[in-house]
Amino acid sequence: MKFIHAADLHLDSPFLGLRQLPNSLLTQVRNATFDAATVVFDRALAEHVDFVLLAGDLFDRAEQSVAAQAYLFQQFERLNTAKIPVLVSFGNHDYLADQHQTVAYPENVTVFGAKVETKTLTLASGETVAISGFSYPQRWVPTDQTVAFPTHAATDWHIGMLHGAVSAGPDDHYAPFTVAELLAKRYDYWALGHIHQRQRLQEQPPIIYAGNTQGRSVTEAGDRGAYLVTSEQGELVPQFFSTAAILWETPSLKMTGTTLQDLSRQLSDWLVAHPAERPTLTAFTVKLSQALDDEDRAQVATGDWLSLWQRTQARVMRAANRYVTAIKFEAKPVAISAPQLDQQYWDQGATDVFNPVNLQDLFGKLAQEPALAAWFTREQTASDLETAARQQLADLMGKEDDHAS
């Protein structure tokens, strides 16, 4: 038996955290999710797999992407032609409700319903496989669904498909489960989806997040792909294969010079020394050895310096097959100390300012902007803000020091 386990194709979803891209790259970015998914389907056809499992989030329903639908129809038809069944369990992004989908996918495609179902396949080899799974009926499935999964059927193999997250607390929204629950089903393989970073929760039987096929933001750096699973001596052996059309990378640099000019050279040297095989969106974190001067800092802050650098280093970036999307500066953690104001007052001020209520208050009407609200409510944001504020205050203190001295 041989099959492919993929998840989180997120077809036609935009890349996040980009400000601007050269047109050539923009086209690649736009096609990246499709190209990555195509690798999966190409592999399925090339390997003559028995079936393909897609564990949710094939596309983002909210985005109403025509291209994604057209693409799925086309690819499913390809597999249909090759008589390769496709089993789809929709996840939190492509949940069943609010479906405009009036035309069914080709007959080789099985879409699991809102309740756990089991589909049994008889393979060309004569082996039988039971595959259990379900689709999200709406955006959230807060309850543990593993209960509804049957125990190992009388088939040769039994595979579970689950789009969800390991139970973390009362606020779970995504079909929470525990590894123990999954193991209790005695399945031969658990094909998980939802978490974009591929990971293996259990070696044998494999309980695997395939991860997404294409990283779409700087937080999804590293190679992305799917698993080709082959039966070997009664066990299912997953083998990762890469699909990402565009990679994300977040290298860290320690700034050797003191000026932005020095940094520019350092970055281009780094690019020359690290050419990429695939187009790679590279977001640098630059550790400053000492603070930049006011002018440099202003250039960095406005983003002018980066866009200028991107323009001037376009050739170098092309040669390295990389595009530098962002340069994040990281200074040493700064101690807030103003000679003329006691530390305690700063600390007291910080508690007044850096609290959710104040933040929310400050954010004010912007909360009505969904895009910003989503960003704002991210856990990371508050601490990012505080870090940035501290950095800025530290910079100001430096100035005060100058002033005082």
């Binding site: 057209a70 405009h100 104001l341 007044d352 850096f354 895009a371 910003l372 005060e400």
Partner: protein
């Protein structure tokens, strides 16, 4: 800080005045218009800068045109400074000197030295006057806090400035109500893009609609294709049927003829007939052989072919031969009759020719008429003879006369001429008599001719002319001529009578001399006519007999001639031959016998054939074969029909049999074809629509608008987030600074409030004991414990409160800012008691802080112990 000396170069009403101030309480006494407010303004102007020229009333430029400005000597943190300010840009030209160290300092240092007090704070807190006291409460707690914050920390001005910068920067990034700031613009752009995306997202619905449509159309197409195939087949069947129609018609036609069941004309029948005819042929052949043999024999015996024929039909021919003599006679008789008849006919014709006038034969004379005619004729003859005789006499006489008179002819050859003339005349008479009808006339004519000739030759020869004779001759001539004329007349009479008779009997044309002959001819013609009829009857009989005979012979012997004499000869020859043969050898006889036998066999065979034919109601073998052929053809037709049926095919044939007519079939074909066309058209339409849909789908799919917009939105959102973050950070840092400053100054607020409570108690002589800061404002507690809000206080009491707070603020903050309190007639609304209390308080705080009191109240000097009292009016 304390002010030591004020030197005015020129300011308002003052010029070149110097006031020396002491460390503690200074009272500057002067009535209204003495320049109290001018001095307050002077202190502010020198320390913090002249107001701009936009506010000339506040600038106090000297009225007398002396130099605008002045200087202040002050002590700060144990160091003495001198600041002078004269008119100049940006608040005036400042000169600062550290007089302790005798250093000239940069002008900017002044603000740092005075910080955090600036013009605003000075005006709000340290420069106390009545209107100020009246308005201060509008600001309430926040105002107080702000002021506290303002002076809350040493160096807080920097932070406050930074906070202000951050706020400005934040406002550049975002203003909730703005349009210009970056984030506002981004948000607008975001809205535009979102709208675009929403618009583009409608393509999603369209996509599914198209998909559905495509599916529907595909189903339709498939259905139509199927239908089309069916209808094509139907149409094809019809076409085929139509094409097969002629064949089918042939088939139908063939089918009509095959229904008649016929027996007796089968193959075996034909064979039987064949056998029989063969038998006939064989027997005939045998016969032929025998005939040949006989012929050979006969050839040897020189038997004519006719005899051979005869041999076959002797029975028939023999009786005929027996009749032969009889027939010969009949034939001869016939011939004779024919000859006779022909003769009669000829004669009758000749008579008719001679006498018939207009086809009408003249009638026969009666006896009387005959006699009369005879008589008349005789008379005429006599008359004629007489006339002729006379004529002759005349001629003779004439001749004689001529002879008497010799002529040229005589000279030449008169004799010859005369002889020839006579001979010619005789010849003419002779020949002319030949044309006369009767023999008698002919004879008479001939004799006359001969006589004339004779006369001419012999008599004339002997005549002799004489002159005397000529006279007698002439007389004779005249006499004869008279006689001639008489005779002619008689002749004419007779001729007329005869003509009458001839006319009556149709003999008008015939000369009378011939009448007798004509009468005879007419009688003869009558007789001939009768005899022709008789001969005709006889001939008919004979001819019939002969014809019958000939027919009989010919029936028996087709070879014989029709010519009867030849026939007779042949028959006689036959008879002769037979008789000869009978006498000849027996071989021939035997042959003949055999021939007879053969003949019998032939007859039998032919009879068999005849029987065969009769049983089938046929006349001849040809008829049989015709019928047989017909039946054969029927068979052929049947097989042809089968072949045709095969060609047509079982189903089409069945289908064709359902068809009523060619027209109906054609109609059906047309209908089917029409249906096919319609379906094809529908299919084409569906296909075209599918192509369109596919095109639309491809267009939708390929447009990439959604993806592009989405990516642009994502990028924009990134930008927005960055800007928002920057904005938030700016705001947060600003807030943080504010909060820190507030925290730093926050310790002092309770002190200020506590001290203000004390001061307020003192000012109100303990009618109010406590001041409390509420979140929004201040409230005060009366002696009896009731709380009063500021608005509930009387104006004087409220001003007392304000004074208390301000003084408390100044005293408490003196740790950081030892700014002198400048009171410009602030107590005008106070009664004497309150004023005294106020003076007392001022005096008590002057230990900590320099107090400069401008007042018109002269009681100050009395009621207060001041170190320094300056009278402005001096």
């Amino acid at each position: 800080m304390r002010l030591n000396r004020l030197t005015i170069y020129g300011f308002g009403k003052f010029h070149d005045r110097t006031f020396h101030l002491t460390k503690g309480f200074n009272a500057l006494l002067g009535p209204n218009e003495a320049g109290k407010s001018t001095l307050t303004q002077f202190i502010s102007a020198i320390l913090f800068g002249f107001p701009t020229k936009k506010h000339p009333a506040l600038r106090y430029e000297p009225l007398d045109g002396s130099r605008f400005g002045g200087e202040i000597a002050f002590t700060l943190s144990g160091t003495d400074y001198l600041v002078s300010r004269v008119d100049g840009p940006r608040g005036g030209k400042v000169t600062l000197r550290n007089t302790t160290l005798d250093l000239t300092l940069p002008a900017a240092t002044l603000a740092q030295l005075l910080a955090p007090v600036d013009a605003q704070l000075f005006a709000h807190v340290y420069a106390i006057n009545e209107p100020q006291l009246g308005t201060v409460f509008a600001a309430s707690k926040q105002e107080l806090i702000d002021r506290l914050r303002h002076v809350g920390a040493v160096g807080s001005d920097f932070w406050l400035r930074q906070a202000q910068l951050l706020e400005n920067s934040a406002e550049d990034l975002y203003k909730p109500q703005g349009r210009k700031p970056t984030l506002n613009q981004l948000l607008q752009e975001h809205q535009v893009l979102t709208d675009k995306l929403n618009k583009a997202n409608t393509s999603y619905t369209t996509y599914w609609e198209l998909r559905q449509r495509q599916q529907h159309l595909q189903a339709q197409q498939t259905d139509l294709q199927r239908q089309l195939a069916v209808h094509r087949q139907i149409a094809n069947q019809y076409d085929q049927q139509l094409a097969l129609w002629p064949v089918y018609q042939q088939w139908v036609t063939l089918g009509d003829a095959t229904d008649r069941p016929v027996s007796g004309f089968q193959q075996n029948d034909a064979a039987a007939l064949e056998r029989l005819t063969n038998q006939v042929t064989a027997t005939v052949a045998t016969l032929k052989d025998d005939q040949d043999q006989l012929a050979t024999l006969q050839e040897q015996a020189q038997l004519p072919p006719l005899f051979q024929d005869y041999l076959l039909v002797t029975a028939q021919v023999d009786p005929l031969i027996a009749q032969l003599p009889e027939m010969t006679i009949a034939a001869r008789e016939q011939y004779r009759l024919q000859t006779e008849q022909a003769d009669f006919q000829r004669r009758a014709s000749s008579i008719e020719q001679q006498y018939a006038q207009g086809g009408q034969m003249p009638r026969v004379f009666s006896l009387a008429t005959t006699q009369r005619v005879h008589e008349l004729t005789s008379n005429l003859t006599l008359a004629t003879q007489k006339r002729r005789r006379l004529q002759q006499q005349l001629n003779q006489l004439n001749e004689q006369y001529r002879q008497q008179q010799p002529t040229r002819q005589q000279r030449q050859n008169p004799l010859a001429d005369k002889q020839i003339g006579w001979l010619a005349a005789g010849l003419v008479v002779l020949v002319g008599s030949m044309f006369l009808p009767a023999t008698i006339f002919k004879l008479a004519g001939a004799m006359l001719g001969v006589a004339v000739g004779y006369y001419g030759v012999f008599i004339v020869d002997s005549s002799t002319p004489a002159s005397r004779q000529q006279q007698s001759l002439a007389e004779d001539i005249r006499d004869v001529q008279a006689q001639l004329r008489e005779g002619s007349h008689e002749i004419n009479q007779l001729t007329s009578q005869l003509d009458d008779i001839g006319d009556a009997h149709g003999l008008g044309e015939i000369p009378v001399v011939q009448w007798a002959a004509a009468q005879e001819a007419i009688v003869e013609w009558d007789r001939l006519t009768q005899r022709i009829e008789a001969a005709d009857a006889q001939l008919t009989t004979a001819t019939t007999a002969l014809t019958d005979f000939k027919t009989a012979v010919q029936r028996a012997l087709p070879a014989v001639t029709t010519d009867f004499p030849a026939l007779t000869a042949q028959l006689q020859e036959l008879q002769a031959t037979r008789q000869r043969l009978q006498a000849q050898e027996s071989d021939v006889t035997a042959s003949a016998v055999r021939l007879k036998r053969d003949q019998v066999a032939v007859d039998q065979a032919q009879h068999a054939v005849t029987t065969f034919l009769q049983t089938r109601n046929l006349r001849s073998t040809d008829a049989f074969y015709q019928q047989y052929q017909q039946i054969r053809e029927q068979g052929n037709r049947a097989s042809q029909r089968t072949a045709l049926a095969q060609q047509i095919g079982k189903q089409p044939l069945a289908a064709l049999q359902q068809v009523t007519s060619h027209e109906a079939l054609a109609q059906q074909t047309t209908t089917a074809a029409g249906q096919v066309v319609t379906l094809q058209h529908q299919l084409d339409t569906a296909t075209a629509q599918l192509a369109t849909t596919a095109g639309q789908l491809a267009h939708l799919t390929a447009s990439g608008t959604q993806a592009t917009l989405r990516q642009r939105l994502a990028n924009l959102e990134t930008q927005m987030q960055d800007v928002t973050q920057a904005w938030l950070v700016d705001r947060l840092v600003s807030q943080w600074i504010a909060a820190t400053l507030a925290a730093a100054s926050g310790d002092r607020l309770p002190q200020i409030v506590k001290m203000a409570s004390q001061f307020y108690g003192k000012l109100t002589e303990n009618r109010y004991t406590e001041i409390e800061l509420t979140p929004a404002t201040l409230r005060v507690r009366r002696m009896d414990g009731d709380w009063r809000s500021v608005s509930q206080l009387s104006r004087g009491t409220a001003e007392q409160l304000d004074l208390a707070v301000k003084l408390a603020f100044a005293v408490v903050m003196a740790q950081q800012v030892a700014m002198p309190v400048v009171i410009d007639d602030g107590f005008v609304n106070f009664d004497a008691q309150r004023r005294e209390a106020a003076y007392r308080l001022l005096a008590s705080i002057s230990a900590d802080i320099q107090v400069i009191l401008f007042t018109a109240d002269t009681t100050v000097a009395d009621g207060l112990t001041t170190e320094n009292l300056i009278r402005l009016t001096d």
